[in-house]
Symmetry: C2
């Protein structure tokens, strides 16, 4: 079966949002059947042209949402794998917005050494964004603009590196492309320090943030233990995790016995009760001499109020006071129990700490990048390469494709069996799950200046061919 | 010249604070001239007894003030060097308080592997404290109690590992011992992340905290740069440094050009002016797209008010709000400029991050420990091993003794030539000074659990022989 899709006909969605111009010369696309949402379909023929010539289909790679210590390792793997297939990679500047704005970075000019060095560089080399596309109905014009850009640059493979929302966007783009018979393979590539993606055993980015958390808590706890006799008795560490306590749980790896830090973990999965918390803190201080608390930023009281919201607000001068959970808890411990307190808020440090990345995490981030390209080259569509755990001890894993329909907009919560019965620590099951994810070191190379040799990628974009996006 | 000091006679200071008991049997000390405050004097004869026998003079080692990532490396070097001299080391539990309370840890039972592993363990293995002894007149009873404990345990060498205050205490103890003809060599051993000790080129502990700071700022800045288009535009990192901006200056190593982070550094050496700061932040955001600010915790307005004190206070419920400089600045940027902000407060993480220790710093921490023992064995008194910089490039350094009188209670400030003319960055001179201090990596060994293999030392004390200290 062959069909032709004439641009400029009724099936010319990109004309609808007013962006259709003479730049859109009607032309014939390669005749193909529409792509199903999942599974093997048309293997897009590999281009016979060398990389330097642009007259070949491209792969578009975009980063989405909060970046991680290893998302660039995925980017690096994508670029290198695509090069081995002689497929040019365009990278969207600042995530999906770059695709909508037609701000595309041509990675074919990146030296091989830079493409490789991305594997040890944190942040998001091409820029990421927080920008959620809604349903196809609600945001149809945007989806169609996206498709127009992809089509204009002959993008046949779209790799979207992000979390739940991005999986959903990739799925919808694949649906729209199918609707218009545009031959596009959409692959979601997993990434999030929140570890809340469904189906995959773990999310690239989480393992490194988890390792940072466990190491930092272990180190700070040694400091507190040394000084507690005359100085700080209670130390509060605030971990990311608005809805799920994955990173707070990772802190639990820092100690094994009840007397080892962290002595108390506050999970968003458990209601925060101040009186109970204070009595536990006091008991730990009396038993151990000090108390290290790890709190998820998202803990809430039984009525659903975020504890972090208790602080903050405005001060006497009407100035915004930016609070946080750790600051609030520390203040309350000081008020109620009278102990000297300190607290830490690592914020972005925890998700960008490439210097203490987990080797497992790095390898998985690279593996999903490579597999995403492999799936794309095989013509698979609307899938995500996910980590499948084969064994805990010794830890064995592999990567398999999973349909985006099972992943999009689904939030994986932490199993109840991972939180200790008293609600303030982790179980052996949690430890068995978490430990392999933080295992192994993968330090970046360091320069003579004593700092990691991270690379930056010029974010210069190729010439636009479409009118400005007015979205 | 020989003299005898009969315990129980008029020169029996430890009797004055009511702690004199039958445990103090009058006995003859080795007749010696009083120790001068500096220089070679009596080489205390090395004991012919093996380590297992306690009938030999001891060396007392104590940690003081805020601990660091490498103070245990100094402890490790002290213990190992003393062992090579067959000198038993007692460690005061929780610093000078342990010496006053007669809470002494016998390190001779520490396995060699543990003594060695201390070199890669952060915190203070034997405990430290914030406890300042005042002048000899004001705190005479305490000094005499200290001398009583030293004498009771036949301590002939006292190594005090700390900052200015500790150097002063070591000096005063040496003076009192001389006054009572007690043969004691007092050696100050440098340590402080504040880098504010006089004479020494750098303070062990600073280089590792500096490396942590520069690496963390470089990493977080990559994160901010990736997200700034739709998310955080201004990121504020709070560095330790109440009086001197050494650690904030170290953050300056993260970037070289005005467009590289950190874009603005706020030093305690310069008055903070909000209007000026806001205009600079806006200019950077407009030029670069985002702005990374590093602020010393100790910055003050022109009238001397700490900026950190502007936040905090009590909230509407009368609860203590613990603020900080970063939280305050971020709140003001949000209010005044309307940018999305984030901030980080690494707190103890920055001084305990042994996992990212500087190799230079580690080697210097070990060198001052070894040298302190060497000086003690040579009978030197009231000195401190200090780092002497021989060259910047290539960096060469050595350790020499300096008199405690030149160091005690003197605070080294940051040279004015280290701060850029505009007051918000570092100069080439600062870079030349700082760079070698953060150079080199010295990662700890990691376990199968993916975490650094740090050791803890049992803090069990030997039997007390003196009455309880009632200080």
């Amino acid at each position: 079966m062959t069909r032709t899709l004439a641009i400029g006909c009724a099936a010319r969605p990109w004309a609808r949002n007013g962006t259709m111009t003479s730049a859109h010369r009607p032309r014939l696309l390669r005749a193909t059947p529409p792509l199903p949402y999942l599974g093997f379909c048309f293997p897009v023929p590999r281009s016979p042209f060398p990389l330097s010539q642009k007259a070949m289909p491209s792969l578009l790679y975009a980063q989405s949402g909060g970046v991680t210590a290893v998302i660039n390792a995925t980017a690096s793997a994508v670029i290198q794998a695509a090069r081995s297939h002689r497929v040019p990679v365009l990278a969207a500047k600042n995530g999906i917005l770059g695709a909508l704005r037609e701000e595309l970075i041509d990675t074919t000019s990146l030296p091989a050494s830079t493409a490789k060095a991305l594997a040890h560089t944190p942040g998001g080399a091409f820029g990421s964004c927080r920008y959620k596309l809604k349903s196809l109905d609600a945001d149809r014009a945007k989806y169609e603009r996206l498709l127009a850009v992809l089509r204009e640059h002959d993008v046949r493979w779209f790799l979207y590196n992000g979390g739940n929302d991005s999986a959903d966007t990739a799925l919808k783009v694949s649906q729209l492309a199918a609707e218009f018979d545009y031959p596009l393979a959409c692959i979601g590539v997993p990434k999030t320090v929140d570890n809340d993606l469904a189906v995959t055993d773990a999310c690239p980015g989480f393992g490194s943030a988890a390792k940072y958390t466990a190491v930092s808590v272990r180190e700070a706890a040694l400091d507190v233990a040394a000084m507690a006799d005359t100085s700080t008795k209670v130390f509060v560490y605030e971990a990311m995790g608005r809805h799920a306590g994955w990173l707070a749980a990772a802190a639990g790896l820092a100690g094994r016995t009840p007397d080892e830090a962290p002595h108390l973990i506050l999970f968003p999965e458990r209601a925060y009760d101040e009186a109970d918390f204070m009595s536990r803190v006091r008991a730990v201080v009396e038993r151990v001499g000090h108390c290290v608390v790890v709190a998820s930023e998202g803990i809430r009281t039984a009525d659903g109020t975020f504890v972090a919201d208790a602080g903050g607000g405005k001060d006497a001068f009407g100035h915004t006071q930016l609070g946080g959970v750790a600051s609030h808890l520390a203040g309350r411990v000081k008020d109620v129990l009278g102990y000297k307190v300190h607290w830490a808020l690592p914020d972005y440090l925890q998700r960008s700490a490439r210097h203490i990345a987990s080797e497992t995490d790095l390898r998985q981030a690279q593996a999903v990048g490579r597999k995403a390209v492999e799936y794309a080259m095989k013509g698979m569509n609307a899938v995500m390469p996910v980590i499948v755990r084969l064994r805990d001890r010794p830890y064995r894993w592999t990567v398999k494709p999973a349909p985006l329909t099972d992943i999009a907009n689904v939030e994986k919560t932490m199993p109840a069996g991972f939180i200790r019965e008293d609600g303030h620590g982790i179980t052996e099951a949690a430890r068995r799950y978490l430990e392999p994810l933080v295992r192994g070191e993968a330090p970046p190379p360091y320069g003579r200046d004593g700092l990691p040799r991270y690379v930056t990628v010029p974010r210069q974009c190729i010439d636009k061919r479409l009118p400005e996006w007015d979205g």
